[in-house]
């Protein structure tokens, strides 16, 4: 453990390199310590991957094999693989339609709250009005409201309006539920933009709307990108809201999550189908995550550290 004993061989040239590289050289311990470190991290990575790996392998195995033997037996060279499970759930269990429903739900439920939040964040950041601070503190308080306290009245409201079970209901509900976080994140970012930019724009006669579309929005792209990815994944993965507003009233409009949760109950013994279905729900989030990981991480850190 004694890092102190290692000589600090920082040659004169090295400090010019990144601070990260410098830290690493200094922290390098004796050989057995390094080995234990790599071993521990390796085991942790293995533990984290194992559950998903097992299911991925199984989703490509024939039904008979899945029910008789563990997925690890597929590591033998004689093992058979098939895409039959995927074909079956897409055609027979309505996964294809549910995939489209998920898109229909997710896209507007991402766009609307972020647009509405950016309007509000702009007002909170660059306009003065009585009650501004109190109003924003209410937004901070609303960040943690459990959705359960809203279900009964909102369900009745949708029923009275005659829109129960339509996509519109989840768009509206997700907008309301997603707004506190979106306003919070965007206001923190927009409020940090340089004041001079907005002052000189006003002097040059730009209206607030022009300043919003030409300055505030383009300059906030990093925060908006993070928020779009975050909200997209959040809605795509949502079970609760879709279950409450669509699940009970309209089987046609169910997204993937609700459908797979239902299948999980009804397909009890048919693991091979259930696993393929679960992977179909994960495909898009995984692509989005690995493609845009940096923005996603920035989104959650920005929200949580400041929250």
């Amino acid at each position: 453990m004694s890092v102190v004993h290692t000589p600090a061989p920082t040659p004169v040239g090295i400090p010019l390199q990144t601070a990260v590289a410098g830290r690493r050289t200094r922290r390098r311990g004796p050989k057995p310590g390094r080995l234990a470190l790599h071993g521990t991290i390796g085991i942790l990575m293995f533990i984290w991957l194992l559950p998903t790996l097992g299911m991925l392998v199984n989703s490509f195995r024939p039904a008979a094999d899945v029910s008789r033997t563990g997925w690890w037996t597929a590591l033998s060279p004689t093992a058979q693989f098939t895409v039959e499970n995927y074909a079956h759930v897409l055609a027979q269990n309505g996964l294809g339609q549910a995939f489209i429903n998920s898109l229909f739900i997710t896209i507007p439920a991402t766009i609307i709250p972020i647009a509405v939040a950016s309007f509000a964040a702009y007002a909170f950041s660059w306009m003065t009005f009585p009650g501004r601070d109190v109003l924003f503190i209410i937004v901070v308080g609303l960040l943690v409201i459990p959705l359960q306290t809203t279900f009964v009245p909102i369900l009745r409201l949708f029923k009275d309006l005659g829109i129960a079970g339509q996509f519109l209901t989840v768009w509206l509900a997700h907008t309301g539920y997603g707004l506190p976080f979106a306003i919070f994140l965007l206001r923190n970012y927009m409020g940090g933009l340089p004041r001079e930019v907005f002052e000189s724009a006003a002097i040059d006669g730009a209206s607030p709307a022009t300043a919003f579309f030409r300055l505030a929005l383009p300059m906030s792209v990093p925060a908006i990108a993070a928020l779009v990815i975050f909200q997209f994944l959040f809605i795509w993965n949502d079970l609760l809201v879709a279950l409450v507003y669509l699940g009970a009233s309209n089987a046609q409009n169910l997204p993937l999550t609700v459908l797979v949760a239902n299948l999980s109950n009804s397909l009890g013994g048919e693991w091979h189908y259930l696993m393929a279905a679960a992977f179909i729900t994960m495909a898009l989030p995984l692509i989005v995550f690995f493609g845009l990981q940096r923005f996603f991480v920035r989104g959650i850190t920005g929200g949580a550290v400041k929250g």
């Binding site: 410098g22 766009i111 809203t150 506190p180």
Partner: protein, 323 residues
């Protein structure tokens, strides 16, 4: 025209059109108002959609739910605290409350401690970003997907039959009898919490890792030069500097534990004493048709969360003060 095509058109053209149209129209209307009135009206024009949505979908229903929690199952007759008494004196619901307490302590501990340890470990190796991605990826997939994945990890068959579940497969290879992970209480609640920890550890790790990197390397180096060993450096410098961030992720995990729903719904649906408050609320509402009891359950959840809300607001005001 196909219903799906109509929906797609609404999604792609209608929604952005309404949003941009709102600002264009209201700004146009504002130009007809006198100057002084305009500057006073304008903030409210930009805030109105947000206030509308927050009011209709969060504030109004929360207040209305509190009111409903004092009414009977038809939402007609006033029944006082009956719904609350029911919740606090029924076995199943008391179990749910107890389980949420277990969730609160264990999930917060697992995720924060796990995230901290992993953040510190991977900070010392070259493949840090790969390791972090692997730990973080469960957060990107749905909890439904995670539930299916782990149902299969925990899969159990009676002894003697071939075990296809990963964990019981490992036990079998070691010559140990299979364990019915999701059936035996209270171990099954812990099994569900492990699933949640698998998901949330990455979240804590990413945020703690960010805070860890903002600690000046010179400070740590100075301590080491003064002869402090790694443990002393951690306890004397790293940990105290990380405490505010640990508090933030811990509060997030507390809220997550209290709101725990998806994993329980998908994996056990509350069977074998694994019930939690959020799942119970959905059951009261849809399975038992008891909006009064469902509302009381939701209000209890809200009451548990209010202290966290107060902490968040205090922290926010402290941050604003130094902004």
């Amino acid at each position: 025209m196909d219903q799906r095509l109509i929906t797609a058109l609404i999604v792609v053209i209608g929604v952005p059109g309404v949003l941009l149209g709102y600002i264009a129209l209201t700004e146009r209307l504002l130009t007809f108002t006198p100057d002084r009135l305009r500057t006073r009206l304008r903030p409210w024009v930009w805030l109105a959609p947000a206030i509308g949505f927050l009011g209709v979908f969060l504030v109004y229903p929360t207040i209305y739910t509190i009111y409903l929690s004092f009414l009977d199952k038809f939402s007609k007759k006033f029944v006082g605290f009956d719904n609350y008494v029911y919740f606090l004196t029924t076995n199943d619901t008391v179990t749910a409350l107890r389980n949420n307490v277990i969730w609160l302590f264990l999930l917060t501990f697992f995720a924060v401690a796990g995230g901290l340890i992993i953040a510190i470990l991977v900070d010392r190796v070259r493949y840090e970003s790969v390791a972090k991605s692997i730990i973080f990826v469960p957060l990107a997939i749905s909890f439904v997907g995670a539930g299916v994945i782990w149902n299969f990890m925990f899969a159990y068959r009676t002894p003697g039959q071939p075990q296809t579940g990963t964990l019981n497969g490992i036990l079998g290879a070691a010559g140990v009898d299979p364990i019915p992970w999701l059936i035996n209480a209270p171990g099954n609640t812990i099994a569900l919490i492990v699933v949640a920890a698998w998901i949330w550890t990455g979240f804590c790790m990413v945020i703690l890792s960010g805070a860890l990197k903002s600690i000046s390397p010179e400070l740590l180096e100075a301590a080491r030069v003064d002869g402090a060993n790694e443990l002393q450096v951690f306890r004397g410098i790293t940990l105290p500097l990380l405490l505010p961030t640990i508090a933030v992720v811990a509060t997030t995990m507390v809220i997550t534990s209290l709101k725990a729903f998806d994993i329980v719904y998908v994996m056990t649906n509350g069977a074998y004493d694994t019930e939690v408050i959020a799942n119970r609320m959905i059951k009261e509402l849809f399975t038992y048709g008891q909006p009064g009891r469902a509302s009381a359950t939701a209000v209890l959840l809200l009451l548990l969360i209010i202290p966290v809300m107060a902490i968040n607001i205090r922290r926010f005001r402290a941050q604003e003060a130094i902004r």
